[in-house]
């Protein structure tokens, strides 16, 4: 049975690589798909998928299409996203005047996309925007159409390398990179805090304590907690066997897990520190109580409103472990546009996906939503590069890691975070051991 799949994937892979005129290692990459494992594929080659005679292929598709092409696209429910997508889709329809389209745009938050698509892929949208952490699960479930060929541009060339890597599993590209700003950084009010203040947690908390104000971060959120442990050089990633690899309980590293845990607890015990989720942080900021918060671009508008002309953003602060200042790490987050492999109009879905993720469209989306484009040129454009939040993210990206995390990470890590926040544990090593056991199960 398995042989048969391999054969078909191999043949598909060969075909693609022949077409692309670049037959390097398509066969090798192909046969990894079923294993579901991933590598930290820093060594994977940049691989062009652009088809040579693309225009002929597109013309062929136009000719062979009759009747109305019905497509559904799911993207974020925010007004900015929906209206911009509508414009882009209209442009796309205008670009192919010979074809009759009926494209519906649905409102679906990127965070829930996986659950909804996997519940019944046949009823899901043809194209959907999703956050990068869902990629591996979706690939494993076979709902993402691998991007064996592209027609209007080459994603591997136009997008930042890290982005393409994030959208690939074992060297095969599975989604079109859309944005590269789904990470976190520090929002702050520069009328209240100086550059010096926001450079380290110690300064930040001291300043806030002195003013009787607060600083927010969802330390008990698994996604954010990662920043401390990874910053101190501890490791947590998805291994080849589909299980997480994690050494947060290490005792033989430069900074041990227990050191980091103590550092986190110390930060949380400051009277200025508030462990709270996004919506609470926004409310506190608006109320004038919270003068800095670790958060992401989705909260940009709220903090701009809250801080007014004091609005500023910066990379994450350093924190003290064993007396040393250590830069916090973070997850670098991306948003991708995926094509449903159960789509009835796979060809048009791919072309629309390419159109939405093209340089011009990405720039448009970036301007409208304040999110950083994955496309290199679009990201460098004047209107976008100067946004404080995106500048902060660019700084932070030097310390950020690709988010390749198995499902078992989230619940145990959140529980660990909650325990560290409260500082209510007898034996920190036992706590970490237990967490690591859960994460790596």
């Amino acid at each position: 049975m398995k042989k048969k799949i391999l054969a078909s994937i191999l043949s598909a892979g060969m075909l693609v690589s022949l077409m692309a005129g670049c037959g390097s290692n398509a066969a090798e990459t192909g046969n990894e798909v079923q294993s579901g494992g991933t590598e930290k594929s820093s060594d994977s080659e940049k691989q062009s998928t652009k088809v040579d005679n693309a225009d002929d292929a597109i013309q062929g598709l136009i000719d062979s299409t009759d009747g109305t092409v019905e497509l559904t696209l799911w993207c974020s429910e925010t007004e900015a996203y929906q209206t911009t997508m509508k414009e882009i889709v209209d442009e796309f329809e205008a670009a192919y005047p010979d074809v009759d389209f009926d494209i519906t745009i649905g409102a679906e938050s990127e965070a829930n996309c996986k659950d909804d698509v996997l519940a019944d892929p046949e009823a899901a949208a043809d194209l959907f925007v999703f956050a990068d952490d869902q990629l591996v699960d979706m690939v494993n479930a076979g709902v993402l159409q691998s991007i064996d060929a592209t027609y209007t541009y080459d994603p591997a060339e136009t997008n930042a390398v890290s982005t393409v890597e994030a959208a690939s599993v074992d060297g095969t590209l599975y989604a079109y990179p859309l944005t590269a700003s789904n990470g976190y950084f520090l929002f702050y009010d520069k009328n209240e805090l100086t550059d010096e203040d926001v450079s380290s947690w110690d300064n930040l908390l001291a300043a806030a304590e002195a003013k009787g104000k607060t600083v927010g971060m969802e330390v008990s959120g698994a996604w954010f907690l990662y920043g401390f442990f990874a910053g101190a050089g501890l490791d947590m990633h998805l291994g080849d066997d589909g299980k997480n690899v994690c050494n947060w309980n290490a005792t033989d590293t430069k900074y041990t897990g227990a050191d980091v845990a103590a550092a986190v607890t110390k930060i949380c015990q400051s009277s200025a520190m508030v462990n709270c989720v996004n919506e609470d942080a926004q409310a506190f900021a608006l109320d004038g109580k919270m003068i800095a918060d670790v958060n992401g671009t989705w909260a940009t508008n709220a903090f701009m409103e809250a801080y007014g002309d004091g609005y500023a953003a910066v990379k994450l602060p350093t924190f003290t472990v064993n007396g040393d200042q250590v830069q916090m790490s973070s997850f670098a987050g991306y948003k991708f546009l995926g094509v449903n492999s159960y789509s009835k109009n796979i060809g048009w879905s791919m072309l629309l996906a390419e159109y939405i993720t093209s340089e011009a469209s990405q720039e448009k989306i970036g301007v409208a939503t304040g999110e950083g484009p994955a496309n290199i040129n679009a990201a460098a454009s004047e209107e976008i590069a100067n946004l404080p939040a995106l500048a902060a993210l660019t700084d932070q990206s030097n310390y950020a890691d690709l988010q390749r995390v198995g499902d078992n990470y989230w619940d145990p890590a959140a529980t660990l975070g909650q325990s560290l926040v409260e500082g209510k544990y007898d034996d920190v090593q036992a706590l970490l051991d237990e967490a690591v056991e859960g994460i790596t199960q």
Partner: protein, 280 residues
């Protein structure tokens, strides 16, 4: 003196209890008039009063909130479910209460056993059954799902029918009335409370349920959602900061007609429950 004290403490207690029960409702109401869109965690009463949320709800449907469409969908579903369910429940109750036929007891035991199975679990299977018959992702499908199994909810209504004196039916039968006539001319007119109870309950089901609706309706186009689904969507993590007060306004709008219905029908409702509960 003792009597006065008695009156005072009883009323005092009622006032305290009423206040406790009213606080969430009051908060719902005042938040629906709040100028701040997110959750107000600092102050009970809004800093800034406005009717904008209602205006937005009714006249400015955007990419997420399309209340008029939701209301319309829920109304259509509610009316049909109400009709079908009421018919089913009354029919089943009459057959099981007033008629005697082979397998009746077994049928009742079987229906009780069926009711024990957790509904949440079979939802996913219901979805695929509906997909099989081509009714998933549609209002018709939801109507079928909500009303299809309503026959199982006959217990209270049957209990009520059991209390109607059998002699009434017997004498009608002697005069040559058919079962249909007895059902429509004698039993139904005597069952006003339980009919009201059944009607209200089956009409409300689609307004209250968000789990089944979310599972059945795969469309992400707000136009296709029901009120419960839509309002639930507004308090998702990504949206709650911008839509919480709108959500509250929606809650108030849904609650008003139902409350009025309840208060007016209170008498029937009470009689319905009790009449049925006497027999369980």
């Amino acid at each position: 003196m003792k009597k006065a004290w008695n009156i005072i403490w009883k009323h005092g207690l009622l006032i305290i209890l009423s206040v406790i029960w009213m606080i969430p409702i009051l908060w719902l109401f005042v938040t629906s008039l709040s100028g701040y869109k997110g959750i107000n965690t600092m102050h009970f009463f809004p800093q800034e009063w406005t009717l904008d949320n209602y205006k937005q709800l009714f006249f400015e449907p955007d990419t997420v909130a399309n209340f008029p469409a939701w209301f319309k969908n829920s109304m259509i579903i509610g009316c049909f479910v109400c009709l079908i369910s009421t018919f089913f429940v009354l029919g089943v109750s009459y057959a099981l209460s007033c008629m005697r036929f082979r397998g009746r007891k077994q049928l009742m035991s079987f229906s009780i056993i069926l009711g024990m199975f957790p509904g949440v679990l079979s939802m996913i299977a219901i979805y695929f059954v509906m997909k099989l018959v081509g009714l998933s992702d549609s209002i018709v499908g939801l109507i079928v799902v909500y009303s299809g199994a309503s026959g199982l909810g006959y217990l209270i209504c049957k209990g009520f029918f059991d209390t109607i004196p059998a002699s009434l039916r017997e004498s009608a039968k002697l005069e040559g009335a058919s079962q249909l006539t007895i059902f429509t001319r004698i039993v139904i007119p005597l069952s006003k409370p339980i009919i009201v109870y059944t009607v209200i309950n089956s009409f409300l089901a689609p307004w209250m349920d968000f789990v089944m609706a979310k599972l059945m309706i795969k469309s992400k186009n707000p136009v296709d959602w029901t009120v419960a689904m839509g309002l639930y969507k507004l308090v998702e993590r990504t949206l709650v900061g911008n839509y919480f007060s709108v959500f509250c306004a929606g809650g108030i709008i849904v609650a008003i007609p139902i409350s009025v219905l309840f208060v007016i029908m209170q008498k029937f409702y009470v009689e319905g429950i009790t009449g049925g509960a006497v027999k369980g």
